[in-house]
């Protein structure tokens, strides 16, 4: 239906070939990450493979009778038989999603949006900075960077959260930290006695990161203020704004650029984003209430 070419004047290519109605998926598992965050692993109801996606893209997840929410895909590109989503319980729909027991059905439509441009990072140093729930949308990119390690220069990852118990993928982070050839720094806003890591902003970790600013690509994801501060710090260090990428978030209903809700300046975050290069969006990131 949505894949037909549109015949009348002024028409462009149709929606990214994806169905506009949710497709049933079965919850295989639900794992608690933190007090308000869970990770859902979904199997296609019809068996077989899920649609291909790019790291950074999102799906609209649907709870029958309740509604849809835009959630980034956070699984491994190579695991073709499942879809993984990390969901924070923030509103009615995400709350419902984070209570779906194994065996229940979740509707999925997508993938939508633009992804992290890994191709632009080949041969360069890669700096990844994540804040809070900004790590899940970056995880598929991290998997891919690690899998094809030899394509890239230095890999520096910085992840900040409110407190140690708000860190997601905790045991996976330990695996990454133990890997030679990449550095993974974690920092929190406040901590108690049991934390031996850093306390402070993600930007305070940048001086410890080693990369050649003129030959670096940066992927940033987290609250807008964190991305703005980090992008500014990177730019001060000499990374060109066109080499810095951010993932923006706005209210989404249709996910296909027709409902108008997700607009950010001239951009439809669902279609032109959520991944944008910083030089494309920086002027709007500093205007209040855009």
């Amino acid at each position: 239906m949505a894949t037909d070419a549109v015949a009348f004047a002024g028409a462009d290519a149709s929606v990214q070939g994806q169905s506009l109605v949710p497709v049933p998926y079965v919850v295989r598992s639900l794992t608690r990450e933190t007090a308000d965050t869970v990770t859902l692993v979904l199997d296609p109801d019809h068996g077989g493979e899920r649609p291909r996606f790019q790291p950074g893209q999102f799906n609209m997840l649907y709870v029958f009778g309740v509604g849809e929410a835009a959630i980034s895909i956070c699984g491994d590109l190579e695991q073709r038989d499942r879809l993984v989503h990390t969901v924070r319980s923030a509103g009615k729909i995400s709350q419902a999603l984070s209570e779906m027991p194994p065996g229940s059905t979740v509707g999925v439509r997508g993938p939508y949006g633009t992804g992290w441009p890994l191709d632009k990072a080949v041969g360069k140093d890669v700096v990844i900075v994540a804040g809070g729930l900004g790590l899940p949308p970056l995880r598929p990119a991290i998997y891919d960077l690690v899998r094809h390690r030899d394509r890239y220069g230095r890999i520096e990852i910085i992840y900040g959260a409110r407190s140690p118990k708000d860190l997601v993928y905790y045991s996976e982070i330990q695996t990454w930290r133990a890997r030679p050839g990449l550095r993974f720094q974690t920092t929190v806003d406040t901590a108690g006695r049991d934390w031996y890591g850093d306390v402070g902003l993600v930007t305070a970790r940048l001086p410890d990161a080693r990369f050649d600013p003129a030959n670096t690509v940066a992927f940033l994801c987290g609250p807008e203020i964190m991305m703005r501060l980090t992008a500014q710090a990177l730019e001060t260090r000499g990374v060109p704004p066109a080499a810095i990428y951010v993932s923006l978030e706005r209210n989404m209903k249709c996910a296909v650029g027709i409902c108008g809700h997700c607009q950010f300046g001239p951009e439809f975050v669902c279609r032109d984003g959520p991944v944008f290069s910083y030089d494309e969006v920086r002027r709007f990131m500093t205007v209040r209430e855009v």
Binding site: V15, V21, K253, I258
Partner: protein, 352 residues
Amino acid sequence: MVGPTVRDGAIVYGEIREDSDLPAGWTDKQEAGKYRLERRTDKALFGYNVGPHGWKKYLFPSRERLWTGVRTGTSFAIEPEKDEGPPVAFLGVRACEMAAMDVSDKVFGKAGDPGYRERRRKALRIAVQCGQAGGTCFCVSMGSGPAVRAGHDLALTEILTPHRHYFLVEVGSAEGAAVLEGVPVSPAAPSDSASAEAIVAKTAASMGRAMDPVGLRDLLVNNPEHPRWEIVARRCLSCTNCTMACPTCFCNTTEEVPELSGEKVERWRRWDSCFNSGFSALHGTSVRASTKSRYRQWLTHKLGTWHDQFGMSGCVGCGRCITWCPVGIDLTEEVAAIRTPVASSQSAQAKA
């Protein structure tokens, strides 16, 4: 066939079954925040400008069911809605409305919306050349009128002389030609065409408003902190009338409508507005909480970033937003104020 008819003190679009449904002898007087009908001294059928409705409601209904879902055990099955409506003829489409449909074709085409495509395909457009300009019209400024030159199936110019009341008909398509079969027509004389052109020229010369569209995109995108936004925000009620009346506004929302039993659910789409408070809701608050930010979003989008998105302006100069704003906000006036260098407008508003 849908076309103009008098109802509730306005000329709106509704089903037309016979001649007497048309607003013969009526005209409209429009100004900022004002609309009223008046009697004409003749019996012109199309002697008015545009009413609160556009053709938007036929191509993009204000409420539309997208699909129906039913539970099947632990899973569900979804049946998309098929549009099975009959072909419709639009009678009395004005140049600005043709232009608005060009804009909507681009907007809905880019998103690949199948419902719009289908309804648009089934619409026969009988255009009417404007015989008068309204108090809030500025199609000439926007390059969208007053003459319909392309896209029509038929285009009518109503010509009234003391002795004759007739129409010059221009055929624009094979479908239009087919409609004319069985209608008593005779070839137009050069004087008929000349009369028609003269009417349109007179209309073009009597526009109620003007707005220079040159450089508008940059002007608005580059001035998010212009003091004028604060000024207009004090008047704006965020009532959404402008977006409802505007023929190119397309913002909409989706709703989940479950049956009580929980076994069946419908997904509906309905018109929304960037002026609504929940429109930009994110993480429990609105990104655009202030009226100022919403008005700025609407105008900057309509006249500015629409160019970035669709390669054209979102405004066709129909004037509906000016007429139907309860406090009479006039975007041509707002734009003129934003064009004024800040120093002089600041001193004007310093103690406002």
